[in-house]
């Protein structure tokens, strides 16, 4: 047993170093992000991710920013049009998707999405705005279709299962929240 302690100690210290490294590398400087050319003089002009993102709401994935909360709490006010005059209508309804195999149901919040984009961003080029009209499945999403066009590319990644699979089937029907629609077949 005694022989194991150095290894355990080494592991713990390495894990601590790893988490410290993760914290330090949360937002890589542009010069060290592996894609920007460090010899480009303009790199000193561009805003550093850490400068902008470290003051927003914290998340554990993607940009390490909870963009929905950041917007909700008023940390940012992104324009709805180039001139800032137009703002898309926010829709409060949710869509309940029940064909989720052994996973929990998916409750899609229109509100979170319409705070970021107008209806025509998704309808009808990506999702037909009609019940049972969209043959969505996880395989397609993982290949970058439907939700996967944004989630896994720019919105929170597909490793965050529970954020979408968020509704226990036993609770459905007993809620007095937003109107629901069952979509997907």
């Amino acid at each position: 047993m005694a022989n194991r302690y150095p290894i355990i100690l080494l592991s713990i210290s390495l894990l601590a170093a790893a988490s410290a490294g993760l914290a330090a590398d949360k937002w890589k400087p542009l010069k060290k992000d592996g894609i920007h050319d460090p010899s480009n003089p303009a790199i000193n002009v561009l805003q550093e991710p850490a400068d902008a993102l470290s003051i927003l709401q914290v998340d554990t994935a993607g940009n390490m920013v909870d963009w929905a909360r950041t917007l909700d709490y008023g940390f940012i006010e992104p324009r709805g049009s180039i001139d800032g005059e137009y703002r898309p209508e926010v829709l409060e309804t949710t869509v309940l998707m029940r064909n989720t195999m052994p996973m929990r149901y998916v409750r899609f919040p229109h509100k979170t999405h319409t705070q970021w984009m107008s209806c025509e961003t998704c309808h009808d080029s990506i999702f037909i705005a009609e019940e049972h009209a969209n043959p969505i499945n996880m395989g397609k999403i993982l290949q970058g279709e439907y939700c996967g066009i944004c989630h896994g590319a720019v919105a929170f990644p597909l490793t965050e299962c529970d954020r979408c699979h968020n509704t226990d089937s036993s609770t459905v029907g007993r809620e007095v929240r937003d109107p629901e629609r069952d979509e997907g077949s």
Partner: protein, 127 residues
């Protein structure tokens, strides 16, 4: 038992270190290099994070008609000069003008077109 516990612990540590070693571009950075290097300029790096702080998604993806697929937009420099796509804002008014070539064409040589980034996407999150 003693011998087996060592390597498995080390494997766990190594697995924990992988995200550290491969933490690259910021999540959702887009590299555009279908034409850039062929035309003699550095690849373009588009930072989603910077733009989404300032504009909603539909401004670019509906109002300006930029397709949500890297490499499929067909955008050329002449479009920008004519005030389309990026050129709608990068005109010296809303944002800096497109004669600041290096600010966009800031990528290393040889980058491939696509959406990059993705640190901390290696497992289920806390929610």
């Amino acid at each position: 038992m003693k011998r087996r516990s060592g390597p498995s612990l080390l494997a766990v540590v190594a697995a924990c270190l992988i995200p550290v070693m491969f933490a690259w571009a910021e999540y959702a950075d887009v590299i555009l290099n279908d034409n850039s290097e062929a035309e003699g300029v550095a690849p373009v790096i588009f930072p989603h994070w910077f733009h989404r702080i300032r504009f909603q998604c539909s401004v670019c993806h509906v109002e300006l008609g930029i397709r949500m697929e890297a490499g499929k937009t067909g955008i050329r420099m002449q479009d920008l000069i004519d005030g389309r796509y990026c050129g709608a804002c990068h005109d010296g008014g809303t944002a800096w003008s497109i004669d600041n070539c290096d600010l966009c064409h800031s990528g290393r040589p040889g980058l491939e077109t696509g959406v990059k980034g993705g640190h901390k996407t290696t497992g289920p999150g806390i929610y």
